[in-house]
Symmetry: C2
Subunit: 107 residues, 2 copies
C-alpha cells in the first residue's frame, strides 16, 4: 500500500479519485504520461487495494477504496500516537521529579 502511495503520478490519480469515480482516460488527462503508463499505475493501485475498477462496455471506471486508505492511515497514526504518549509520560515523570526536588528543598 505504501509502495503504491510512493509515486507522484499515482498520488495524483488518487487526488482525482477522491473527488469521485473516473474513467482511465479522465485519470490520464492531467498527467504527462502515456495511457499505457496510466494503466500500469492503475494496476499497482488496484493491487494495493487502494482503488477498484469496473469495465462497462469499453469504459473502465475507477473508484477509491476508503477502507484501504483507512488501514494505511491507522498504521501511521498508531505509531505517531505511541510516540506522543511516550513523550507525555516522560513529561509527567519530569514534572513529578521537579515537584519532589521542590519539596525536599529547605524553606
Amino acid at each position: 500500500m505504501f509502495h503504491a502511495l510512493a509515486d507522484a503520478n499515482r498520488r495524483l490519480m488518487l487526488d482525482r479519485l477522491a473527488g469521485g469515480p473516473a474513467s482511465v482516460s479522465e485519470l490520464a488527462k492531467p498527467l504527462s504520461i502515456s495511457l499505457p503508463a496510466v494503466v500500469q499505475h492503475l494496476r499497482v493501485l488496484e493491487g494495493s487495494g487502494l482503488v477498484r475498477s469496473r469495465k462497462t462496455g469499453r469504459v473502465r471506471t475507477c473508484q477509491i477504496e476508503p477502507q484501504a486508505l483507512g488501514t494505511a492511515e491507522r498504521w501511521i497514526s498508531e505509531r505517531r500516537t505511541a510516540w506522543e504518549q511516550r513523550l507525555d509520560r516522560l513529561g509527567e515523570f519530569l514534572a513529578e521529579l521537579r515537584e519532589q526536588s521542590k519539596n525536599r528543598r529547605p524553606r
Copy 2:
C-alpha cells in the same frame, strides 16, 4: 515519505522507535539483515524526515519525528474524507429524490 514506509524492515524499525529512542544496534537486533543494511534503511528513514538520529561518542541514537508521520497521515486522511463526504452527499441526494418521487405518487 511513502517510499520510506514501503519497506517491511523500515516499518519494523519505526515500530521499535514508536516505543522510544533506540541505538542502531538495538534497531538491528530483531531484524534478520546485516548492520550495514540497517544503516542504509536508517538513511532512507532520515532522508524522508520520519526519523532523526544523533551520534554521541560511538553510539548513534535514533528517534521518531512525529510531525513527518502526521504529514503522511494527513495526506491519506484528506483523500479518504473527501471520498466519504462525497458518498454522504450522494446519499442525501438519493434520499431527496426518493422523497420527491414519494410526494409525486398519487395517494
